[in-house]
Subunit: 357 residues, 2 copies
């Protein structure tokens, strides 16, 4: 145990940081909400802060309050290194400037974890394990502050990824904020129509549209400068395809129009190939084995039990819940090299393999 | 066994129709591809057609050839009722008109099944079981032809849904074709950026973008008249949000702009609430129980085995594959009434329940 960490804000992220650092650092905790603080202490995330100094202070409060808390800690000389966990780095940077705070002790940070869970009760020691943790130095940030935040992320089990605040905000705009708006735009059209023929494609594409509008308007507003051009570009791509489809509706043999539609489909397929299934694992590294299952308790367990007995790690599972089907199709995502062995094991177990590879 | 059915085209759909009708109808099969026909016969989907008459003829050939095959069968007086399985009803209607064919014996149809599988080897008797089967009469279609197609769909185990060709084409444009274009538009933006911070939201939203551009350009072209206005509307929604986000980037306190962003998020959440998880089952009828699992063979099986032992039917499973996490979170979708029992069973089995309800 070397060094001490002060965690300000004992929500999901702050409490998980405390839990992850047990055995690595001494952790002091504080929160404006006494019940939340007590829960975090009871869960073993650290001790209640006595107001003394720490080696690193982590501000894990809502994004809109982050800069003010950082400014207060700086003015009180609480720690020689300060970081935070806000999902928009430039907004914190801007707020600090507005408060007149410029310090080489502050280095931004953002652990990519905890998407849907909230509160200290949901915190776990391995929340950051193997996940990216963006480390985003500001212009005045000292090397020692930056390296201390890298060390903190590593101590939490995360993979630190150094990038500028702007690069971070562009990356989350692309991988999180644009998909949210697109899902909302698709789902919004359902209000005027008939969703009775819905299938798995619609379910996947619109799943995140169920997220809280209040939460998302805050997230999107904070990162508006980065999200706006991406949404505009997606809108323009769709506008061009709509025009091409209109031309095809008039003249089904319009080759240029068909080429325009195909071009976006191809760019989409190429872009999708860059989405990691797991860190460093792309679609092309994994393959799908599809199995037919009856829709009753225990069906999935038979399929997955067969995989487990064959010592094959299932990376992902999708139940093709064709709405209303009394039977379903389960898709198992496995490393490409495991497809043949899994298909053989499933067939030997009397299961019907529909596709593999 | 009452009545006889001729199936023209022994691909996945045609062969599955033959298999589904065994014991219900006498089935004759034909295909221009001898090997495909032989596979279908070998699988027990029916006997090779001797050229004789049938009570119902089902044309299950590629959409572009559907009208020509129907016209040929009508001219040869093969059956008093003819139907097809094309995914765009208006295109077949238009092609029939172009061929000068207008007959009260033809009634369109489209079983919603078989999304990703192809060929007679993948056919199964229960492919249509409980799934919607659109029955789409044309203006001249007789009541007896329409009712015969409803009876055929029912005999195959499907749920017949009567709708006009236009209503059908609008419905699939909304639930299948628009989501495809939106997924492509999101994934296309990844080509210019950094996908290293990708999470489950991006994976879900772009999954169908991996589909074949060649296949989809045909599907979209056939239904272009219905897809074009939907894509245009989604594009316009995104354009307005992009403008609002631009205003928020300039002035973070612009209330009107924030209201515009929130409005699309709210419409999206409302629209998403109309997507059936299963036939007649909406998001609000089911609840999620989230459990932490280690990423090793057998982890999922323990979770699902616990559910099966407790006699709880898991409607859907999602592995929250936070990329690179050595552990993951599995989300079990169950009927709302089963949440408490499942959480108790999982906890009793020593598993960590993160959320329920």
């Amino acid at each position: 145990v070397t060094g001490s960490v002060l965690v300000v804000g004992t929500g999901l992220i702050g409490t998980s940081i405390g839990l992850a650092l047990q055995g690595e650092r001494r952790v002091a905790l504080t929160d404006i909400d006494d019940a939340s603080l007590q829960t975090a202490v009871d869960r073993g995330a650290g001790e209640q802060w006595d107001g003394g100094p720490a080696d690193v202070a982590v501000v894990a409060v809502p994004p809109g309050r982050t800069a003010a808390v950082l400014a207060d800690l700086v003015s009180r000389n609480v720690a020689p290194v300060l970081t935070h966990v806000a999902s928009c780095q430039s907004a914190v940077q801007r707020d600090l400037l507005a408060l007149g705070v410029s310090s080489d002790t502050i280095c931004g940070g953002h652990p990519l974890a905890g998407r849907e869970l909230t509160g200290p009760a949901a915190a776990t020691a391995d929340l950051f394990s193997g996940r990216p943790w963006a480390v985003c130095p500001l212009p005045p940030t000292s090397d020692s502050a930056r390296l201390a935040v890298v060390a903190l992320a590593t101590a939490c089990g995360a993979q630190p990824v150094e990038m500028s605040p702007g690069a971070h905000d562009r990356a989350v705009a692309l991988t999180s904020h644009l998909p949210q708006m697109a899902a909302s735009a698709v789902a919004a059209q359902l209000l005027g129509g008939d969703a009775s023929l819905a299938g798995p494609g619609l379910q996947d594409t619109t799943r995140i549209a169920a997220s809280s509008p209040d939460l998302w308007v805050d997230i999107l507003s904070a990162n508006a400068a980065q999200v706006a051009p991406l949404v505009a570009r997606a809108s323009e791509d769709l506008r061009q395809v709509a025009a091409a489809l209109e031309a095809l509706a008039e003249n089904p043999t319009a080759m240029d129009a068909a080429a325009d539609v195909r071009a976006l489909l191809q760019r989409g397929a190429d872009g999708r190939a860059r989405v990691p299934v797991k860190r460093g694992v792309l679609d092309r590294d994994v393959a799908i084995v599809a199995v037919r299952i009856p829709d009753r308790p225990g069906s999935l367990v038979q399929v997955l039990g067969t995989a487990a007995l064959a010592d094959i790690n299932v990376e992902d599972v999708r139940v093709e819940h064709l709405p209303g089907r009394p039977t379903g199709v389960v898709e198992l995502l496995v490393q490409s090299g495991a497809v043949a062995a899994l298909s053989a094991a499933l067939t030997a177990a009397g299961l019907e393999v529909l596709r593999s590879g």
